[in-house]
Symmetry: C2
Subunit: 402 residues, 2 copies
């Protein structure tokens, strides 16, 4: 891993986008052409221009991701070379554009989207609220990473307006359901994993092959309409309570940039089935620190390092039945919540089902989201250079129901 100080670039002090990060995204400038770029400092390196490779002009990362781990490592090494070899400066510098002058797009054409439920604190909190008469964790929770498929077609890039969804809801005390705009619009602060290299139908991906398939990481806000979800989700799971929008950050941080962030997952309560057992395997817990801002004010700092199930276990589970992977598959961790109140990754937890409103610095309170509210999730991780690298941000503002 190169020393982020060794570049000829004049990087801003404390940038989260040094040479130990180099995340990939899809941008356009005034020309409107969508192409692949790499964030470095306050700039974006135009990969289509600097490489001349049409692969980087397709408007999504998919074609590059499909090439697999060797190609990912090669390009990362070449980019590092361009930015550290002073002799290349004159050739490379014209292809560095100010990041605040470009528009970011959805980085990946999403194939299938899966959402897990891997924070024990979140699952326990939700269990207490949704099923107050049962144990907070269902009996399967400690044995497998519970997940479900979401709607790939409504995964959108950060900044996409969040139109308040309408739908059916029925409170337990109501005689019959009613329809209308959601009254319990919520967020879920999550971390997403982007599959680069696919797999064959009928053949599970073992837990040790995680880095052969997964390219990198982004941030996810899995917007949720809790009133719709509560009424619809028995017995087949969440559907319209989730499918109106899932927002993702524009920069995909390669796993290669997260070596310094890797930590052991928490101790497990029960012996795991062999395909999930990571005892003695390479650890794939990740020490990411998320921040959730509501209208600019930090309301939570969820710690990703404490997640019970790792992304390597999630991938092994997802394919244990022989389901194949495709380039562009995205799976998310589920809401990241820590043990403390100010580490909860959703408003339903932060306001305890709406019963304990959050007081905001501006003097107002919130249970769920109001029209006009803006939520921004950011995250950082330890980088190879000794500082912290940035995972960018995923943001969205609530618009009134149509």
């Amino acid at each position: 891993m190169s020393d982020p100080g060794a570049t000829w670039l004049d990087l801003p002090a404390g940038t989260g986008y040094g040479l130990d990060n180099l995340p990939y995204g899809v941008f356009s400038d005034a020309s409107g052409r969508r192409r692949t770029g790499v964030a470095v400092g306050d700039a974006v390196l135009d990969l289509a221009a600097v490489t001349g490779d049409p692969l980087h002009g397709t408007g999504s990362l998919n074609a590059f991701l499909a090439r697999g781990p060797r190609a990912w490592a090669d390009l990362r090494e070449r980019i590092t070379g361009w930015l550290t070899d002073g002799a290349l400066r004159a050739r490379v510098q014209p292809h560095l554009l100010p990041r605040d002058r470009v528009r970011m797009h959805l980085p990946v054409e999403v194939a299938d989207y899966v959402d897990f439920y891997s924070s024990r604190h979140h699952a326990e909190n939700l269990g207490r609220m949704f099923r107050p008469d049962s144990e907070p964790l269902t009996p399967n929770w400690t044995h497998l990473p519970i997940g479900y498929h979401g709607r790939a077609g409504t995964v959108a890039v950060s900044g996409t307006p969040v139109v308040r969804p309408a739908g059916q809801r029925k409170a337990p005390a109501d005689d019959a359901p009613t329809s209308g705009p959601s009254q319990r619009l919520d967020i879920e602060a999550e971390v997403g994993f982007v599959v680069g290299a696919g797999s064959e139908l009928g053949t599970p991906v073992p837990i040790g092959a995680f880095a052969d398939h997964v390219f990198g990481v982004c941030l996810v806000n899995d917007w949720s309409a809790r009133d719709l979800q509560a009424w619809e989700y028995v017995p087949l799971g969440p559907f319209l309570g989730k499918s109106f929008l899932t927002s993702v950050s524009p920069w995909v941080v390669p796993l290669a940039a997260l070596q310094a962030a890797r930590v052991a997952p928490p101790a497990r309560d029960v012996p795991l089935q062999p395909y999930l057992d990571d005892t003695g395997a390479e650890p794939w817990g990740l020490d990411l620190t998320l921040e959730v801002r509501l209208n600019g004010e930090v309301v939570s700092r969820p710690p990703f390092g404490g997640m019970y199930w790792t992304p390597a276990q999630q991938l092994a589970h997802l394919t244990a039945n022989g389901a194949s992977l495709r380039t562009g598959d995205l799976y998310a961790s589920g809401t990241v919540s820590g043990p403390d109140r100010d580490q909860r990754g959703s408003l339903i937890e932060l306001s305890w089902g709406g019963k304990e409103p959050l007081s905001l610095a501006e003097g107002t309170t919130r249970t769920f989201l109001a029209d006009g509210d803006e939520v921004t999730i950011t995250a950082t991780a330890p980088g190879a250079g000794g500082g912290r690298i940035a995972l960018g941000e995923v943001t969205g503002r609530v618009e009134p129901a149509r």
Copy 2:
């Protein structure tokens, strides 16, 4: 609607593929080139060749479907003209290939896959088996068409081998889960709806706009591992119990061919929310008769006409929260089961959870599927010509776990 007798083609007596059907699929011959074809009699009309339009040489129907209802109607009318105008015979006939000499492929690049649960008889049967201590129908069932997202990447064309999936299961009497090949591999006989024209994020599709978006119908076998499903599905719904494979028939029958099959849906138990209320609207029940064959023997004849929720209601529900549609979206009805035992669309119902094995003519019995078993689902519908049109078949043979 043309008279199927009026063609210059020599159609086999009782063909389900007269001019009142004209389903679309993707085929290849010895050249390996995938292109769009239309089934007529025992032939396939090579649309790429006869039209010369590269749209029909893309290897999926998506590009054509994206053109929308006017283009669908136009092409249907042109094809009918080619096959009825004797003056065109010499030009068209060279592009009719014997159907038994071509290979069929997945007709549509599937965008999102949703599975509903719209047969009351099926939902009641499953409820009795999975939740014996509760009412068979959950309280939401009569108020909304329950559905969930499935895995689009494992939707495959009829004939794809069904590799027995492995996974976790835990019977209630077991102390802990075990892993291994599914011991309760099942089928679900369903009808699928293919979205042609997409819709805008944030804008629901009203119930009356069904035919503006949905192009046509195929058959679906939603293979299910009941032991995996039973252990995993609380609280977020089916996941690995379903995601290993979903098979679809290769021929997509356009809605235009199903005018004579349209019937009123059953009376509803409760007043419906306005967005689902189809009182006085165009009826979109469909009088399809399915047949399920296990190793060649008919084991069930599920009637689709009695489904509680129609595909128009399913589409209105799917988008009620503003979720957008994309060309290639596929949604399936859920298992089609009628009130009688020999009308049940899954083995878990036919064998009542494995307690009442099916006796097969060959002298053996079945509860769930054995390695080597082959399941074929076919269906017919009343056609405009007074006879019945065919929806083709979806078939698959079980291979041992790997």
